[in-house]
């Protein structure tokens, strides 16, 4: 008897429920602050203990993930913060999303966890289906294959490997020479490669040795680590607001394009690929216009340089498109697109079959990905589609942006960036010191938020961030700015 009534109620209620409310009926209505500063005493104590066995000096606070919900992260002291940082931009559907819980509890997940396959040698019956229904359904236009990896750095490095092998194979007629086979065992040419990956000033692509060689954001990411002496090109520094500086910005982009072209043309050696973020995120949320990316695509094609777009941070909806580079209307798709973070699974998309090395066991390792993460990615993608979360994020982003623009008239919100770019929004503070103060003040008002670059603040909420969350954020921000 009870059942149909409940059912009816939920249908009726559903019409009025936002996606977030339907996922998280008991999401907190606002931040809940139990301690006067964050981290609170319990967080401090737990963190001190953890420090004995694990480097935790970058800890903001110790989190209670069991009680975190939707857009709110809970900490060890029982505080609930509105989270617009979301695990460095890697939570897609909010904390404890019921659909992800369902997937996590499924037999498929248990199977993927406890019988982890060496995927390239012993793939499971359902791996093709999991990929097809998830990661590949989400593929950017023009991409129909994937190689799976484990993190953003790993995704980029496997893409670099594909690029190097592709170019060498093209240049070589047939088999490896005896000299190549021998020299490579001494890490020497010609078996080892002297080709390079070009990246951009202030770019961030990860922290393993190949990816770190392309990372150009901050010295602290790179110091003391041997690096490949690979080239970098300048990334445009645009002036804001964009509509007031169109001519200057075009000039700046042309200058960068010229320099890019001149580097790859005059480079003493072969530039196998270039890698670029649609928005340089760690490096300060630096944007360039579609024109810049379109031209890059043309130049790379004209010069036989592969174009790798690093969508590790920008991918999966936050920009108001599923993939941020879809904003650019490129003349032809990039050669590879890398992903991780919000997708939980990592890897790179491609379409040219020659980006698969000419022989097996060249792009290879023990696990070659992780089916448990591919399952999560599949659910994330299906939920994003089902609830139209990309378009919703686009419109909430517009709301957020226009309100920030109004605040910028009264307060030092400088170089506001990310118009028509979903919730992928950032601005500059006067200096690092003021940024630090603002971030802390916001945290103590119940907003968990992150910086990027030297003096910027970035918004990276999940895809279930809605107007009511935006309002809470905006009013906390205004209070914090007032107090500066």
């Amino acid at each position: 008897m009870l059942r149909p009534i409940k059912h009816l109620r939920s249908i009726r209620a559903k019409r009025f429920l936002s996606t977030c409310e339907s996922y998280f009926p008991d999401e907190p209505k606002a931040p809940i602050l139990k301690t006067s500063t964050i981290p609170g005493p319990k967080s401090e104590q737990l963190n001190n203990e953890l420090g004995e066995i694990f480097d935790n000096r970058a800890t903001y606070f110790v989190s209670d993930y069991y009680n975190s919900k939707g857009n709110y992260i809970s900490d060890a002291d029982g505080n609930y913060l509105l989270d617009v940082y979301a695990q460095i931009s890697s939570i897609a559907l909010g904390y404890n999303n019921p659909e992800l819980i369902k997937t996590a509890k499924s037999d498929e997940m248990t199977n993927a966890l406890i019988n982890r396959p060496a995927l390239a040698c012993f793939p499971s019956t359902d791996y093709a289906t999991i990929l097809n229904e998830g990661i590949l359904s989400a593929a950017p236009k023009g991409m129909n294959k994937v190689w799976t990896a484990l993190s953003g750095s790993d995704a980029n490095e496997t893409a670099y490997k594909a690029a190097f092998m592709y170019h060498h194979t093209k240049r070589r007629n047939g088999d490896f020479s005896a000299e190549e086979l021998e020299s490579v065992m001494n890490n020497e040419l010609p078996g080892a490669s002297d080709m390079v990956i070009l990246s951009f000033d202030k770019g961030f692509h990860g922290r393993l040795f190949g990816s770190l060689s392309t990372t150009r954001s901050k010295a602290i990411h790179k110091l003391d680590i041997p690096a490949f002496n690979w080239p970098k090109a300048p990334f445009p520094s645009l002036k804001y607001p964009l509509n007031e500086f169109e001519a200057e910005n075009r000039q700046e982009e042309d200058k960068c394009l010229q320099e890019f072209e001149s580097i790859i043309k005059s480079y003493n050696g072969k530039v196998a690929a270039m890698i670029i973020e649609p928005v340089q995120s760690e490096g300060g949320d630096n944007h360039a216009t579609p024109y810049f990316f379109q031209q890059l695509r043309k130049i790379t094609q004209d010069n036989d340089v592969l174009m790798i777009v690093d969508e590790v941070q920008t991918g999966v909806g936050a920009s108001g498109k599923l993939w941020a580079h879809e904003h650019f209307d490129l003349p032809s798709p990039p050669d590879m697109v890398t992903f991780s973070k919000k997708f939980q699974a990592a890897g790179f998309y491609f379409s040219n079959p020659e980006l698969q090395p000419n022989q097996p066991y060249r792009q290879f390792n023990t696990w070659c990905g992780d089916p448990s993460k591919a399952l999560i990615a599949k659910t994330i993608y299906q939920e994003v589609v089902k609830h139209d979360l990309v378009n919703k994020t686009a419109s909430i982003g517009n709301y957020l942006f226009s309100n920030l623009k109004s605040l910028a008239e009264k307060y030092p919100i400088l170089n506001l960036r990310g118009e028509n770019f979903g919730t992928f929004i950032a601005w500059d503070c006067k200096d690092a010191n003021e940024r630090g103060k603002l971030l802390l003040s916001l945290r103590n008002k119940g907003i968990n938020i992150g910086g990027c670059g030297d003096y910027s603040i970035r918004l990276r909420p999940p895809l279930v961030f809605e107007q009511k969350h935006a309002d809470i954020f905006l009013s906390a921000l205004e209070d914090a700015l007032k107090e500066l």
Partner: protein, 467 residues
């Protein structure tokens, strides 16, 4: 334990048709989206159980390869199913934290479980995601440690360092090396591939760091009949190491070695050799990193293979992955933690879901003393293989792994015979792996027992007696 975990484990392999039609079709369709050219067969993991792997055509193989040495407790182990279904696991999967910034309350407990099985002398851990990742993180720690020794742990970076590093140039990006060995395997990302030296195909066409290689001992077998020659071989190799530590064109921050070179052919080194390496690294101020990615977690009869060597003092770092399901490195010197935060860092800094599994695996291995089981079963298996060797010497060259649990290998006279043997074994229901050019290696799970050994031995003899 196998019976307790798996009351329904098959009593033997069953080959219907191999390669089967469904597997072949599935492999092809997978290839449209994911490179499947290295695929042996497509697996039905839901039906696989204990030591037996079942493919989509219903072939049931006794698995002594175990996902390239990475399944610890057999397929569908009930203890792990319980962990996979626990609230802790669900929480770790759906709320994957950036543990460097926002560690979970339970992270300490999760790490304590990993530390409960740490090698002697190690009391801290940094986590990664794969074997290559674990090694490269350890290299980074070694490089930062080395420069800190030179500069002073608390000394600030110079302006010149800060500027040059953004151009990938010295002194900010210093020229430093990791010393590894010929025939070693440490992974396939750029730095780990620079230390890997097993086969050209792993390395060709990749830019690499021009880091040095020492020689790993090549012993004469059987060991007990060649003690003097092998001791001389140890000394010869140690001299090469010392020469490189002294004379290589740039400083060597760390020496990296597997307790048993696995991909490179299951090459063993003696306790004398390993202690010699420990002494040399101390003498020349380099760190000693032991790569236990393939050897770790019980199979050699001790939880960590390098524990057989009783090195003193303990190695500086020990890397792990594979059977532990979680990856990373153990260490103990507080100065292996870089001087400021955000230097050893990335988005996730590990994966709690996998760490929880690793902790549970450690507990099962300890509480059921599975290392001892491997030791016992390994002795049994090795003895029987010795008997087969006496009977068919050409097909059992350089039998290796005495007193190393089930971590056993031997060589054939040629790669072609070895490959034929592997194919024939598959037809006989045994899934088995090779290493280097002419060897096969046994890498069963830790729940491989005498009854499985008997099935394996019978199949080997049946195949070889037909040659």
């Amino acid at each position: 334990m196998a019976t307790k975990y798996f009351p329904n484990e098959p009593t033997g392999p069953k080959v219907v048709q191999f390669p089967g039609p469904i597997s072949t079709a599935k492999k092809e369709s997978l290839h449209k989206v994911f490179d499947s050219r290295a695929t042996y067969f497509v697996v039905d993991y839901k039906k696989s159980i204990g030591n037996y792997i079942v493919d989509v055509d219903g072939n049931t193989f006794l698995d002594v390869y175990a996902q390239i040495a990475s399944i610890p407790l057999g397929y569908n182990n009930p203890a792990l199913i319980e962990v996979a279904k626990s609230d802790k696991m669900i929480n770790a999967i759906v709320n994957r934290p950036a543990s460097g910034n926002f560690p979970a309350e339970e992270l300490e407990e999760t790490i304590q479980d990993l530390l409960a099985v740490a090698p002697k002398g190690q009391n801290q851990v940094w986590s990664g995601l794969s074997g290559a990742d674990a090694n490269e993180l350890a290299f980074k720690a070694a490089f930062m440690w080395y420069q800190a020794k030179k500069r002073g742990y608390a000394t600030a970076f110079s302006t010149e360092e800060n500027d040059s590093v953004m151009k990938n140039q010295s002194p900010g990006s210093p020229e430093l090396a990791i010393l590894s060995f010929e025939r070693s395997f440490h992974g396939r990302l750029f730095a780990s591939a620079s230390t890997t030296c097993s086969k050209p195909i792993h390395k060709l066409d990749l830019p690499s760091f021009n880091w040095p290689k020492a020689q790993f001992p090549s012993y004469k077998y059987p060991l007990d009949k060649n003690e003097d020659a092998n001791k001389q071989e140890d000394q010869r190799c140690l001299d090469i190491v010392e020469d490189l530590l002294k004379n290589w064109k740039c400083p060597i921050a760390a020496l990296l070695i597997e307790p048993i070179q696995s991909e490179g052919g299951d090459n063993h080194g003696s306790s004398f050799f390993f202690q010699g390496l420990r002494d040399l690294t101390l003498k020349y101020g380099s760190l000693l990193i032991i790569d236990e990615v393939q050897t770790g977690v019980g199979a050699t009869g001790t939880f960590w293979a390098h524990e057989h060597f009783n090195m003193s003092p303990a190695p500086d770092m020990v890397t792990f992955s594979k059977k532990f399901q979680t990856a990373g490195y153990y260490f103990h010197d507080p100065e292996i933690v870089p001087n400021v935060p955000y230097r050893q860092f990335n988005t996730w800094c590990g994966d709690p879901a996998r760490m929880i599994l690793g902790g549970a695996i450690g507990k099962e291995v300890k509480s059921n003393d599975l290392s001892a089981v491997c030791k016992r079963v390994g002795e049994y298996l090795y003895g029987k293989l010795e008997a087969l060797q006496a009977k068919y010497p050409t097909y059992f060259q350089d039998l290796r792994g005495k007193d190393r649990g089930t971590f056993i290998a031997w060589s054939f006279e040629s790669g072609a015979t070895r490959d034929k043997f592997l194919t024939d074994m598959k037809q006989s229901g045994i899934n088995m792996g090779s290493c280097a050019e002419t060897s096969i290696r046994l890498r069963p799970t830790l729940v491989f027992e005498e009854k499985h050994a008997d099935i394996l031995l019978a199949a080997i003899e049946k195949v070889i007696s037909g040659y």
